[in-house]
């Protein structure tokens, strides 16, 4: 118990330290992984990946099913153990700056019948600031409602999360990340099972966050929306295939290398990816 309280105090002190660090390495990486390798006991599912996500950018992590996209994010955050490799968040070990990071899990991994309302989920993003025993007061509730408002969900604070549509559920989790006031947001397939209008609404919020200088990294599946939505991509298939600004790295050649024969079935929008840009 005391240990946990002490850790809370230490991390509160670390916030300033983290901000200072970030200032010193301005324009540098929000998230950098080097030689990241993950195995669930057998062959590696992510092998020796180097990747850099610069501050203030919005990046897509793309690749075929089983390419290790989600695993890479989880390993970067220590949710799954890594076999080897190094992770730096704003130039510091993740544990020192975790307050600056928000993680939005895959929708499929959540128990939607859990007895919790939209506002309660958002409040989870504030518990770190309030502390283990601190009271959740009017101020916290107002902050949570403001976060819900920002994602267009203010009318749904009292709803049990299972009574929301897929897109609404996704926005509640985005509101939790907003409440955390994180500078780096990692989202695992935020657009899976979400209709087009909601996808646009979520993207608008993410673009706002980017405009504020925050960094967004999203595991993404829909190749047709990559160009319009993300300014950087990381192409992954266990190993890193390519990374960089979308116009440089999101090429047919790289996609073929990542997806192999499976790309034939994936219709790349021709007008969106003109052949000229490949050369």
């Amino acid at each position: 118990m005391l240990k946990r309280l002490a850790a809370g105090v230490a991390s509160a002190l670390n916030t300033d330290y983290g901000a200072l660090q970030a200032h010193e390495i301005e324009g540098d990486a929000a998230l950098a992984v080097r030689g990241l390798t993950v195995s669930y006991g057998g062959a590696p599912v992510v092998f020796s990946v180097d990747a850099t996500f610069p501050e203030g950018t919005m990046s897509a992590v793309i690749g075929p099913n089983g390419a290790g996209k989600s695993t890479m994010l989880k390993a970067a955050l220590g949710i799954v153990p890594r076999l080897s490799g190094k992770v730096e968040v704003f130039g510091a070990p993740f544990v020192d700056v975790r307050q600056a990071v928000a993680y939005v899990p895959q929708r499929a991994s959540v128990d939607w019948d859990f007895p919790t309302r939209a506002r309660d989920v958002v409040l989870m993003g504030l518990y770190r600031r309030v502390g283990l025993l601190g009271r959740i007061g009017a101020r916290e509730r107002a902050a949570a409602d403001a976060a819900l408002e920002r994602v267009g969900m203010s009318g749904f604070a009292e709803r049990q999360i299972g009574q929301l549509s897929g897109g609404q559920q996704q926005r509640v989790f985005l509101a939790r990340a907003l409440a955390q006031d994180a500078r780096l947001l990692l989202l695992d397939e935020p657009f899976a099972g979400v209709d087009a209008a909601t996808e646009r609404a979520i993207i608008a919020v993410l673009h706002d966050l980017k405009a504020e200088g925050r960094t967004v990294v999203a595991v993404h599946h829909d190749l047709s929306t990559v160009r319009a939505t993300f300014d950087r991509v990381l192409l992954l298939n266990v190993r890193k295939i390519a990374e960089g600004p979308t116009e440089e790295a999101f090429t047919e050649e790289n996609l073929r290398a990542a997806y192999g024969g499976k790309l034939g079935a994936l219709a790349l929008p021709a007008q969106d990816a003109p052949a000229a840009s490949l050369h």
């Binding site: 949710i79 007895p115 309660d120 518990y127 909601t198």
Partner: protein
Amino acid sequence: MSALTQALTLGAGYNAALVTVGAALLGGAAGSVGTFMFLRKRALVSDALAHSTLPGIAIAFMVMVALGGDGRNLPGLLAGSAISAAIGLVAVDLITRHTRLAQDAAIGAVLSVFFGFGVVCLTAIQTMTAGRQAGLETFLLGSTAGMLYSDALLIAASAALCVAGVFILRRPMTIVAFDAGFAETSGISVRAVDFAMTSLVLAVTVVGLKLVGLVLIVALLIIPPVAARFWSERSERVMLLAAAFGAASGYVGAAVSATAPALPTGALIVLTAFGFFAVSILFSPHRGVLAQIVMRRRTSVRVHRRQGLLALAKDEPIYDRMTLAVLLREGLVRPDGVMTEAGEAQAAHASRDEARWRVAAALFEPAALPVRGDPLIPIDGLFTDDQIAVIDAHLAGAKGA
């Protein structure tokens, strides 16, 4: 009967009163900590844990006798049970983490092996030290008979400590149960919280062995939370309610048991808990079976009324007997199938509503639609007058074109 009333009002003697209060505290602790095991989907771990206590009880008895002490010393027996339960837990954890076996298989294997071994030990004790083993089998189903003052005090105090522990850890336990990945990234160690949660279950189980018995303690950990879940969509309230159900079960069960010492206490407590469960599953206002039946019936009537009105508005024949019955009962059609005046008005209203709904979804972002997927709700109250005007203008324009 007056003896029962006396026991229920804590008037059946100081010792009986202390046991009853202890059982209530134990029930409260079990209900609240059980809530988090239930929400974490680990409810059955507590079953493996409970059954793993038996060898520990038997071996502790043998050790204490061998050392020349009293084999029935409760703290000694409980310490033994805690050690063997912890070994059982570690076994489940190792099997789950290092093999491809699912947790339920690991639980089944550990539970039966430990229990079997415990039964062998008990039998060995019976042949070894005839006459002195009396009482050990009460750990199977629980008993208040012959409980010492110090035993009751131990149970009550430990149960109170468990309640305090659950209260302090409720937030991290909720977050870990809901979203372990998020918990880990925000600095809550999932392993540490899981360990604390399991330790609380272990404590409740060990403390409850004497009163409830190892076979039934799991029921006290699972039934109150499951019953409480029917009444609230908020985890804190589910926990408080589960604690209340558990406490009431412990209180009533122990009081009844004080008047009928032949009945096993654990069984009485669990049957009381089942009473709460039965009432909850039947009568809870939203999730209960009756509420569900009523809601289905209401929706069905609303759908048939609406479809019938829309058919009438379009002068289409109605064949569905349920639809006809609904319209007839509400005086919207005459027995010969012709619309009444009220029916005509409502049919016009329904078809206008339907047309408005159709354009409403197209005109306003789905996010702005106040109610998801319920087109049967009258649209007037849901949108502002301005919005309705926009919708109607759109409708008029569509007709003109």
